[in-house]
Homo-oligomer: 273 residues x 2
């Protein structure tokens, strides 16, 4: 069971479109004391037993400890997938990752696995930036209004080959677009914005050759690709343990939510026997 601050936001986005919270047949199979409960993200992982659509399942290596494997269920895979599948980073490329929470850190790892030449991670927290360095960031910057100027300065005025937005703030999304390279830069949105907010793009950035794209779950095909990502963890390519900041038993689950709201740590994992 994996508490993830971005899951809630993503859920809102998906629910808008798919009326999630119910199984594909429109029913709910969960109840508490007779009252129907909806399935969070179609799963409801805090239940002891649950009915899930078969397509929601992926078979991962039995060798993978569940404490680590659970992180691949969303945030980590979202970041990895964005840099590996949705906007595949090219060897030697310059990459900027805006936001170094779970999703952004996943993108840092993905960029490293793809052979990026330079990975600039931007965040407000020095602790997160340290973690980004541990995972392969070559440069770490404290975020601010001058990010675009700094990226341009450091890239001969052109911008980065790939930028990844992992905060969900539309003004940071705009920075991701404007920091992407003239000619071929790709700006990939993986953070989830608040309802009603819009990303403003000066069309000239498009006309002069940038791509703007995005993904939910990093464009990862869950059933096929999550098991492969877990295998890379087992092969030692991804230090998943470093993302687990807290471990809590199920009866302290509400503490996990508090930690999440305080942005204390990257991930709290709920365990039960």
């Amino acid at each position: 069971v994996n508490c993830r601050s971005d899951r809630t936001n993503i859920c809102v986005a998906i629910r808008e479109q798919q009326n999630a919270g119910y199984l594909p047949d429109g029913t709910t199979r969960l109840s508490r004391e007779g009252a129907p409960l909806r399935h969070f993200m179609g799963c409801s992982t805090f239940a002891e037993a649950t009915v899930m659509p078969e397509i929601a399942l992926a078979k991962v290596s039995a060798e993978a400890p569940l404490e680590a494997a659970c992180l691949f269920a969303c945030g980590l895979s979202t970041g990895l997938g964005a840099a590996m599948f949705r906007a595949p980073v090219e060897p030697g490329a310059t990459v900027v990752v805006l936001g170094a929470g779970m999703v952004g850190l996943g993108a840092v790892v993905g960029a490293r696995l793809q052979g990026a030449g330079r990975i600039i991670a931007v965040d407000l927290s020095e602790e997160r930036l340290e973690l980004a360095r541990h995972h392969g960031a070559t440069d770490t910057w404290s975020g601010g209004a001058d990010v675009v100027e700094r990226v341009l300065e450091e890239t001969g005025g052109f911008g980065a080959d790939f930028t990844f937005e992992a905060t969900g703030d539309v003004s940071v999304m705009r920075q991701a677009v404007e920091a992407a390279r003239m000619g071929w830069g790709q700006a990939c949105m993986i953070g989830v914005a608040g309802r009603g907010e819009t990303l403003e793009i000066v069309p000239r950035y498009l006309i002069t050759g940038r791509h703007v794209l995005g993904a939910s779950f990093g464009g990862v095909r869950g059933r096929e690709q999550v098991p492969k990502l877990v295998d890379r963890y087992l092969a030692g390519d991804i230090d998943v343990d470093s993302f687990i900041s807290h471990r809590l038993p199920l009866d302290r689950v509400n503490e996990g939510f508090e930690l999440m709201h305080r942005q204390d740590g990257i991930r709290s994992v709920i365990t039960f026997p």
Copy 2:
């Protein structure tokens, strides 16, 4: 010599970045009665003789009549290139082209040459829509606020595989994004917006899999690809003559500008002996 309404706008955009109007070495080689004149788009085609950078030249087939070949210098190639090179339309795809001036009509032709299954052209002018049908549009709609809803209705709620924006109006650009297909739709901006205007994108459209991109000159590599496009005209694949609405001698060049401002016809070609 080719009068094109979009050339002026594109020039503004390029000039902002490259300080165009001068040759790459920063000089001007044109003058009138001793006063220096700048090179329009690095060429200044209304001069009887001009110095141009070698990279600005493309060698086209000697068989191509100049009256038709000149249209490949910008607007027509911009539309063709967007649908053929920048966002290459796939065989059988559903395509929406917003705006049926020279650039949009070029995109209609490009989509047809790529084997699109359905090409929906949208414009306010019935005359232009008729021309769009002549060039391969399978559906022609009078533009309006309901374009996105209509595209969704006609595509099972999903949107078009490719959309091309060829008006330069940022609200139409937004329609192009929102009419692109969930999962993989590409929205390609080829119109040039006014200075200071921004395209507003609801990030959810990106998260759910759409690409937003753009191109100047349709992403066409002038020297290599313009000659090939001219060859397709000579092979009978592109009815260029149908785009030439007026032919004027050089001493009536100002009439050409008036026709352009009135949006009278698609292109006026200036001839001189």
